[in-house]
Structures are given as structure tokens and as C-alpha cells.
Symmetry: C2
DNA sequence: TGTCAACTGTCAGTCGCTGTCATTAGCCTC
DNA sequence: GAGGCTAATGACAGCGACTGACAGTTGACA
């Protein structure tokens, strides 16, 4: 979230460098030797700072694993807000995810190479303790999305459950896509984009009970 | 899961008693002073065993919080399997959850009072670290449910994504219901049953784009 | 009754994480 | 450009979840 900002003084730049270095080292270590087998001490040591300093930049070991995801998510929300009001909620959501995947590089590359991020994502999807956190974070994002949808439709999230219900179903399918992608071989962005798209397109028919349609 | 079984020998009975005592003390402590503020040492002390012994009954502190949920879930699966084949997947899921809520006591009461379980559930829904685990566990259950649905419809889960997509949407709404219930005042079983029912009934219309229908 | 195996307690150690306090090093003023 | 201010860091101690190792205890069963 606050990962950018050139930073004027030497102090600021130094901090930024330390943070970035910690983040990259962490992700690199996580994706190579596994999250659980990586200790915070190792991450700190790789950047040559004390463990205590690590915890001044990140509130937890987990946080490093999701720092980039965080950026991607806020980008998604931003894109969603831009969608034309004419689209139905579900259409807008669908279009926004696909757009987000198509322009992933633009939101990330400055901090971390896209490839490392994809590897990180896959690592998250295959690490039980991180899957748990991932899911909880997703619900928080869901809440935000629901608010955006409600706004689009001129509804009140607290009294009208439909925005949340829509988002809940949408997110359920999103997570399914992420999970299956993570279990597969192809780590490319195109691959997860494709899975996402095809699954979303099945949601309507499937719920309508059209199981025979090919 | 393996919480029942009368147990023949003295040894078995003793073990069962220790386990039950640990479980109840844990849940009681969790719901009174909060999960994070309860230490494993306290739980062990309340039952007068060593901390090490606690970890021989439960692999983690978390596990105790979900031990009862575990029973409820397997019951739900069992009920789902019994649903008539004539029902559509979604109808069967809907009916099974409601049935499960209606007969909650029968599957639980022997180990833990229903009221304590409800309080535990609410505590889970309001404890971030447990929400995370709860969600991960939910996806595991989802997978199982998807298999049952696939079986019903004579499909292969691995190749046909429709069972999973259906379950994903269904579970998304289920979790939403749980979350909102947990945030409310009414801890009763009836209350969560009602929320569940009403939300599930909105899924179809909402996805079909029928936002104006009252 | 004595032997075996299961169960338990004790102790030491790892890892994530936090509070405290002294030290370092940008920054800003005079 | 020396000195004071303060943010940033390091070093250390300690807590809580969890694990391995080893020794003691207690049901099970011949």
C-alpha cells in the first residue's frame, strides 16, 4: 500500500531500500525452501539487519507473504470503480478481474518481478497456514467489494444483502480458480486468467440448474 | 471425529474423560476470556495434566476450537448423502444444511452442550486467527461436498468443474451467513438457521440479475 | 504377580513475536 | 560544521505455542 513514494531524504530512501530488500529476500526464501522452513532470523540475516528490525517493518512473518497481494487487491478495487454503471454487478466484477490480470505488471513490477509474485502466489496456495490467512484476507476484500457494488447500485450494504450475496458467490468461484491454478503446473499469468474466466462463465448456468448444457 | 466410542477398558475410558475434560475446559475458557488470552497452560492446569499431555490429545490449541465443528460437518455430509437423487444439487445442499441445523443436538449433546458450541462458533467468527483457520477448514469440507455432488450427478470432479463451482457459490453464501450471524446478538440455533435459509434463497435471483424483485 | 506397553511428566530447546533500553546516525539549527 | 534532536537500530530478556528426548507411572494381560 505504502510501498511506493520516492522519498526525499536519505533516511527515507534507506528505509525504502531496507523494506524492499527484506520483502524480496523473504519471498525468495519462501519460494525456494518453503515458508515454514524459513525463519525470520534467516530473512533478517540475508539483509543484514537484526530480527527486531524485521518486525519493525513487518508486523509478522505472514505480512511479507501478502505485501504484494495487497497492492494487487487495491488495484482491482480501483479498476472495479471505473467500470461503467451500465454493466450488471456481476459483469463489472468479471471485467475488473480480467483487466487486473491483464495489467498486473504495471502495478507490481517496480517492487517485485511478476514471476516472483506468481511463485509466491502458488506457494501461498500450497501452504496450509498461509491458505488460512489468504482466505481471511479475501473476506476482508470481499467486504470492500460489496460496498463498491452497493454504491454502484445505490443500495445500502447493511440493509440489503444482495451485494454481499453476489460478491460471496463471485469470490467463492475466484478462490476456487486460485486454488486449482495453484495445484497445477502452469505458473503463468495467462493460465490463471484463463481459469478464472472460464469458471466465472459457468456460475450462472450452473446455478440455474443447466447441468446438461454443453 | 473419533470422539465417541464408549471404550471398553479402564484405560480407554480414562483417556476419553481426559480428552473431553480438556475440550470442555478449553471451550469454556475460550468463550469466557477469549481465545488469545487463554494459554495452553491454563487449559492443562484446569484439567490437572501437564501441558505436554494436552499436546498429546490435540495437535494444536486451534484444534480444540474446531473439534466440535468437525463432528457437525461430518454429520452434514452424511445427511447430504441421504438426499433424494431427484433434487438438484443446489436443492439437496440447501435441504441438508437446514436439516443439519434442525438436528444439531443429536450429533453434539453427548460431548458438549449445544449452547457452549454456539458460543464457541460465535467466538470463532469474532477471532481473526480462528476465522482464518475456519475458512481453510471450510474449503476442505467444500472439496468433500463437491465429491458427493459429483457422485450424485454421475460426474467426475477432476474433469467437470460444475460440482465445485456450485459448491463454491453455495459455500460462499454459507460463510456469509455465518459471519453475519456471528456479528449479531442472537446466539440461538434458530437464528442462524433463519439467516442461512433466507440468504440461500436469494442466490439464484441475485445472480440472474433480478435485483429489482421484491 | 510380574512383565510389557501405553500414558504421562519433566526438561530443554526452537521459533514467532514483544517490551525495554542503550546506541547509532540522519537531520536541522545556529 | 559542531552540537542537539529524534528516528532507526541493535542487543537482550521474556512469553507462549509447540517438539523431542528421557524417565517414571500405571493399566493390560499372561
Amino acid at each position: 500500500m505504502k510501498t511506493q513514494e520516492a522519498g526525499s531524504g536519505l533516511r527515507e530512501r534507506k528505509k525504502q531500500r531496507t523494506r524492499d530488500a527484506l520483502l524480496r529476500s523473504a519471498l525468495e526464501l519462501f519460494t525456494t525452501k518453503g515458508y515454514d522452513r524459513t525463519t525470520v532470523d534467516e530473512i533478517a540475516e540475508a539483509v543484514d539487519v537484526s530480527q527486531r528490525t524485521f518486525f519493525r517493518y513487518f508486523t509478522s512473518k505472514e505480512e511479507t507473504a501478502f505485501a504484494v497481494q495487497d497492492m494487487v487487491e487495491s488495484r482491482f478495487i480501483a479498476i472495479l470503480r471505473e467500470r461503467p454503471a451500465a454493466e450488471s454487478p456481476f459483469e463489472a466484477l468479471r471485467a475488473a478481474v480480467l483487466d487486473a490480470w491483464d495489467t498486473l505488471g504495471e502495478s507490481i513490477e517496480e517492487v517485485v518481478p511478476v514471476e516472483l509474485h506468481m511463485r509466491t502466489y502458488q506457494m501461498i496456495e500450497s501452504t496450509p497456514s498461509l491458505i488460512a490467512v489468504h482466505l481471511r484476507r479475501s473476506t476482508e476484500v470481499e467486504e470492500e467489494i460489496a460496498r463498491v457494488i452497493a454504491e454502484r447500485e445505490g443500495l445500502d450494504v447493511e440493509t440489503d444483502p444482495r451485494p454481499r450475496v453476489t460478491v460471496a458467490a463471485f469470490s467463492g468461484v475466484m478462490r476456487l480458480a486460485g486454488r486449482l491454478w495453484g495445484a497445477g503446473e502452469d505458473i503463468s499469468v495467462e493460465s490463471i486468467r484463463a481459469v478464472t474466466e472460464s469458471y466465472l462463465d459457468q456460475l450462472g448456468p450452473v446455478l440455474a440448474g443447466k447441468w446438461r448444457a454443453k
